[in-house]
Amino acid sequence: MKLQKNTRLALYSVLEFAADPARHIAASSIAERYDVSPHHLAKVLSELARAGVVESVRGVGGGYRFAANARRLTLLDVIQLFEDFDGRDERREGGDDTPVGRALATVLEEVDEMARATFATITLATMLRIVERHRK
């Protein structure tokens, strides 16, 4: 299982903000910590702001702060802002309508269902506890 780069960046950022909801954090400090380009991160953060997950803070230092409910916002909610994870893949590929193609689709759907059920039931609050376990 792999998430797209923007999605990973979004999750890193959201978890940084959610860990300390009162604090506003400069984009540059997240870019540094996760070793990503500030330009790339800026796009991700403005998308998160547009969705209301974070809000921008004006004035000295600037940056963003968390604006959602960490106990209800799930990993899937964040992932969905950046890639299509719910619903079936509607793209048609050659061979889809053959018995092998349909069998393969059934097996892939099994894997996707599992991934969705996992991402949809891990809230940011739960994820922060998992993060804590990885600090040691």
Partner: protein, 138 residues
């Protein structure tokens, strides 16, 4: 869990599932409530004399080659008493019982579609177990 609590348990289950299963619950009580032995537990949350929820589980030995573990097979909190920590305390209580029975792993199995209860168990620290549930038409 006392015999007198059974009606309240049945009422919560009926409210949550929409189907009253009195005979089933009497069987569960006989097996898990009345007999305290063999790592079986049927616990109720007592909120000032009112049953606010329940949890049922048992120690299972060497199923599919896995060492004994605690198995939680039902947990329900009265819809009016939810999101106040009752579920958390029920799970903590049954885990304490499992530890007393000498097991250190707790497992459960849930419908993939029941996101409420999945989120609850996740919030308590549960992660996917190294098993995959399978089924077929018999």
């Amino acid at each position: 869990m006392r015999a007198a609590d059974l009606d309240a348990v049945i009422a919560i289950d009926t409210r949550v599932t929409g189907i009253e299963k009195r005979a089933y619950w009497q069987g569960v009580y006989k097996r898990y409530g009345a007999s305290r032995s063999e790592g079986r537990q049927f616990l109720v949350a007592d909120a000032g004399g009112v049953v606010a929820g329940f949890v049922i589980g048992e120690v299972r030995d060497w199923e599919f080659g896995s060492p004994p573990c605690g198995w939680v097979f039902a947990i329900d909190v009265d819809p009016d008493a939810r999101q106040a920590g009752v579920g958390t305390r029920l799970l903590a209580a049954i885990c304490a019982g499992f530890r007393a029975a000498g097991v250190t792993k707790v497992r459960t199995m849930l419908s993939r579609d029941n996101r409420l209860i999945l989120s609850f168990f996740r919030s308590q620290g549960m992660m996917a177990a190294p098993f995959i549930p399978l089924e077929m038409d018999a």
